[in-house]
């Protein structure tokens, strides 16, 4: 069983390592991740929101849905823990 798990891990790792061949080198400013939406965010965020911290601007404004439902997720987690662990006081 352990050998099987080890083999599965090794296979996944080799596939992923093979996949890194197509990745951009570290710190490449022209990598695909840095070319699409992020330059728009960086250039416009300060003018449109007056917030110098770009992370906060994107977190609170451009990606507000993400943050909102993420707050709901941790709220649900808190509720779930209370529901799972509390016992009826007799």
């Amino acid at each position: 069983m352990k050998a099987l798990a080890f083999l599965a891990t090794l296979a996944t790792g080799i596939v992923l390592l093979y996949g890194t061949r197509d990745f951009a080198a570290w710190g490449d400013a022209a990598s695909p991740a840095s070319r699409h939406v992020s330059p728009v965010y960086i250039e416009r965020a300060v003018k449109e929101t007056h917030v110098p911290n770009l992370v906060t601007a994107i977190l609170g404004d451009y990606r507000g849905y993400d943050t909102m439902f993420e707050t709901v997720v941790i709220y649900c987690a808190g509720l779930a823990v209370v529901c799972v662990l509390r016992r009826q006081k007799t």
Partner: protein
């Protein structure tokens, strides 16, 4: 110092004297720093999540150094629940308020119709209000997670 030693003799806190005194001194500063991180999120690394976790950590520190009951004295379960609900409500409430005022959902510039500050200033202020909501919710949930996991749901002495 002498007074502290006498207190220690009276209450039998033994080896924990240094830890408990240090925690007692540190907790207000940790909470102040947590508030600073939330409020200063526009200009420095920080924001609702990080500040909320720091605020929650101050109560967790109290619960670790003393016991769970002591931390319940500073922040009762009821207050904690109210804060958690209020945090999520602030966020969703502001989002819905934007929609009710004629803008898009979560488009803070619509709040300009409520108090006239200019749409861009309102976007900045809206982010701040939302961060306060996130910080409150995260603090409450972190404390509640620790209380429940640390005591197995019993809410007694804890760890």
């Amino acid at each position: 110092m002498k007074r502290l030693q006498e207190q220690a003799r009276g209450r039998d806190i033994g080896d924990n004297l240094i830890i408990r005194t240090a925690v007692r001194l540190l907790v207000p500063f940790i909470q102040l720093f947590g508030l600073y991180v939330i409020v200063h999120g526009h200009y420095s690394p920080g924001g609702g999540f990080q500040g909320g976790v720091i605020l929650g950590a101050s109560f967790i520190l109290l619960a670790l150094a003393y016991d769970l009951r002591t931390s319940l004295r500073f922040m009762s379960e009821r207050t904690n629940a109210i804060l958690g609900n209020a945090g999520v409500l602030i966020f969703t409430g502001i989002a819905v308020l934007c929609a009710l005022l004629g803008g898009l959902f979560l488009d803070y510039s619509a709040l300009d119709r409520l108090i006239s500050l200019g749409p861009i200033e309102w976007r900045s202020l809206g982010i701040f209000l939302v961060e306060v909501g996130v910080g409150t919710a995260v603090m409450s949930i972190m404390v509640s997670l620790f209380w429940d996991l640390g005591s197995g749901g019993e809410m007694d002495e804890g760890l």
